[in-house]
């Protein structure tokens, strides 16, 4: 009854620098099963499959593949050994043809190193037919829509006839019909005795596909069970933690007092039907949206938490409010009663809206700019006269003052920001936002990748700002932080508001359930586990 597993990972530990993200995880895939890996953002799912597929080679623990101890140093070794992986990002060469991509790295060779294009094309034709793809092997990949490219990527992995197929969120770019095709294919693979490892944040996909589910939490395996034995509610509880923590920042009277105070407070930001088109033009033309008719109100001095898993559109909401998405964003927004439609971040800053972007390296900092120049970048207008001549002493004084409030420690304010620790870099980014003297502050993952001390500093600062009347929209993937800081929480699921939760009485599993779409808002969010949910927003 207990067949030999195709793959087993035993006692896997993996650290990135000083931070250990997997603490002795066991995981196995049996022949003929679809094994779903579930867990919150940062639970270690992707790290685990990256070990399996040879992306990470510096781990401790055992990897046994079809009875042999293995340790892959590069992904191609894993592929040869029978682990095919479909990554979240496309790994096709857009300037080559469909057939060339399908056989990239394992070309069908003729004599004297010649590529046998004729058999490659015949074989490609067969693979494409199997995958239900109506494209020519001669077509350039760049000419195909992204969803077809994704299907092609999957077809390529399937064609390798690997013993184990690993898919990490493969459906984010796929249409409904294509998802059906994919699932049919995966089931037929399973029936032929292959093993499938599947990662997804979508509850409905888990239950359509899974034979077994393994739940990871904070780098530890908390459960492995047949899918039939786990209800969605149980699954969410497992992902969040057994002791369902309920944060009570205030006693109920204080909450009520705060609520009525909020009602009487000035409205800082009034957002109606905010919509953001999909970044890929062909999907946008097909009407795909990453933010779909989102409406909410933000009071002066309030912290509104936006919760949502990857791809929920929460980040896009912030970028749209900051004017960073240009014409992709639409909707009616009022800022302190005045119509507000920023065409660029520059205009948003001028109107008093500042954004702290989540991706510090990609979107936040120019690495060689000194601390002082990084912090003052958004408010240089204050320190410059006509012709843009900078009053540098005044600038330095102002930056010194702001950074002192942040307890920012740097070798010197003239050092390049790349010389700072992650926490101090983040403080520099925050200081830049604050220096622009915003009335509304949009914080996207303000404490990602920083240590506990810096986190505490930032929490204190957030309190301080709201006391000064600054309104904040906050995104964070750390639930505890979300509840600690937010007065209210909006939960986004696939670009729509799934639920609104009172911050003080919210529970982690209520938010996570809404974020995963356990119950659609149409059916009423009241049946969700937990309390304090009052259906959709507005």
């Amino acid at each position: 009854m207990n067949p030999e597993p195709l793959v087993s990972l035993r006692g896997i530990h993996k650290a990135f620098g000083p931070v250990e993200v997997l603490h002795g995880v066991d995981f196995e895939v049996l022949p003929g099963e679809v094994h779903v890996l579930a867990g919150e953002n940062g639970a270690g799912k992707s790290t685990l499959v990256n070990i399996l597929s040879g992306v990470h080679s510096d781990f401790t623990g055992e990897l046994v593949l079809q009875g042999r101890h293995r340790r892959f140093s590069v992904p191609s070794q894993a592929a040869e050994a029978g682990v095919a992986t479909i990554h979240q990002e496309l790994s096709l060469v857009p300037t080559m043809t469909v057939a060339d991509n399908l056989f990239l790295g394992r070309e069908v060779m003729g004599r004297w190193g010649r590529v046998d294009f004729a058999s490659q094309h015949a074989e490609a034709r067969r693979i494409l037919d199997d995958a239900g793809l109506d494209v020519s092997p001669h077509q350039l990949v760049a000419e195909l829509p992204v969803s077809v490219q994704q299907m092609l990527e999957i077809a390529r992995a399937l064609a390798r006839d690997a013993a184990v197929l690993v898919l990490d969120e493969p459906t984010s770019a796929l249409a409904e019909r294509e998802v059906d095709v994919l699932f049919t294919r995966l089931r037929s693979l399973r029936d032929r005795g292959r093993g499938v490892v599947y990662i997804t944040h979508r509850m409905e996909e888990i239950y359509r596909l899974a034979d077994r589910i393994t739940v990871l939490r904070d780098g530890v395996r908390v459960a492995t069970a047949p899918a039939a034995e786990l209800s969605p509610d149980q699954l969410v509880t497992l992902m969040v933690g057994r002791e369902v923590t309920r944060f009570r920042r205030h006693d109920p009277e204080a909450v009520a007092a705060r609520k009525s105070a909020a009602a009487s407070r000035t409205v800082a930001l009034d957002v109606h039907d905010l919509t953001v088109a999909h970044p890929v033009p062909e999907l946008a033309r097909a009407g795909r949206r990453i933010v779909d008719d989102v409406s909410f109100v933000l009071a002066e001095g309030e912290v509104l938490g936006l919760a949502g898993l990857q791809g929920s559109g929460a980040s896009a909401v912030l970028h749209a409010l900051f004017g960073a998405l240009g014409s992709r964003a639409s909707g009616r927004i009022e800022l302190f009663g005045v119509p507000y439609s920023p065409a660029s971040p520059k205009e948003a800053l001028r109107a008093g809206v500042a954004l702290l972007a989540a991706d510090r390296k990609g979107l936040g900092l120019a690495p060689w700019l000194s601390v002082i120049h990084s912090v003052s970048l958004s408010s240089l207008g204050r320190f410059s006269g006509s012709l843009g001549w900078l009053r540098q002493r005044e600038e330095r004084g102002a930056v010194e003052e702001v950074t002192r409030g942040f307890r920012l420690s740097a070798p010197s304010l003239d050092a390049p920001v790349r010389a700072l620790s992650g926490g101090n870099q983040q403080k520099a980014c925050l200081a830049r936002c604050l220096m622009a003297e915003p009335r509304v502050l949009l914080l996207d993952e303000p404490t990602r990748g920083i240590d506990v001390g810096a986190k505490a500093d930032i929490y204190a600062l957030v309190r301080d700002w709201t006391d000064r009347g600054i309104s904040i929209v906050l995104i964070t993937s750390e639930m505890e932080e979300l509840f600690l800081l937010s007065d209210r929480v909006l939960v986004l699921h696939r670009g729509r508001i799934g639920a609104e939760v009172e911050g003080a009485v919210a529970t982690k599993d209520a938010v996570l359930a809404a974020a995963m779409g356990v119950d659609s808002p149409e059916e009423g969010a009241g049946s969700l586990p937990g309390e304090g949910i009052d259906g959709g927003a507005r």
């Binding site: 800053l349 979107l363 690495p367 970048l377 410059s384 843009g388 900078l390």
Partner: protein, 333 residues
Amino acid sequence: MTGSTDSRLRGWLTTPVARALLALALMLVIGSVFNADGAFFRWSVHRDMLRQVSVFGILACGMTVVILTAGIDLSVSSVLALAAVSFAWLTLPMGWPAVWAIPAVLVLGTALGSVSGVLVARMRIQPFIVTLAMMVFARGLAKVVSGGQKITNYVTGADGVAHLVPMPRIFGLIDSRVLGGNVSIVTLVFLACVLATWVILARLRLGRHIYAVGGNEEAARLSGVPVARTLIVAYALSGLMAAVAGICQAAQETQGDPETGMGYELDAIAMVVIGGTSLMGGKGSVVTTLVGVLTIGYLQKILSLNAAPEATRLMLTGAIIICAVLFQRGRDR
């Protein structure tokens, strides 16, 4: 006490300016060793080096600005030629006074730079391609303006008869030497360009925007920096500097030659890079470019004093560029 002074000195030695200066010092030592029977110790040699390097140096100033934005300007040599030809054409056959001709040429250079800037910033075409096209285009335009000929003071009049016109004084003036014959006017123009570039980069808001855009364009945009405007101004400045260099070139050659300045853009880029400015953008300064200009200037001078053949000169220059960049990079990659 000595420990902290020591570590501070060591800290200073790793800065790009210090490294660039060390490379220059090394070059001077080499010059002192291979001094061509003491010729290297004569002031006139250094004065001539400065004069010869000035036109390149002016181009390198504009190039520094563009490279700091993570771009490149290959068109400077052609814009230089176009400016030289236009200046000669306006002052000789057209007989314009210099006070009109100079601003007109500067506007022309700035306009061509702005066109490159718009194509880079608004049309999102790669700087290499935009300025490569501009390089070809401006060279062609220079040939149109000059009719494919060198423009000299041998002018064909309205009657179809060619005759000599007197050389306008501005030509001699730009090429003259002041301060007791010690410094060429062209060198002063070069130093003025360095100073102006330094002010822009280190003292103006525009400079901050240039560094921010070059260091991380998306971060700059999200910080409210007008990215497109900054890029356009950077290329316009490079065009302006190329026009200044073109006027100097015309004065030194006492003619407007549409073929002049071929390949100068590569010398200018080499000077910027030897100074330690990163081609990735966002890191560097015009001060190190000045040092880079002097380093290459001395290298050329030492080789010519020692009568090194052209082939040797080219090979050595190539090798020196690589060595200098490796030295600049040092341990912090």
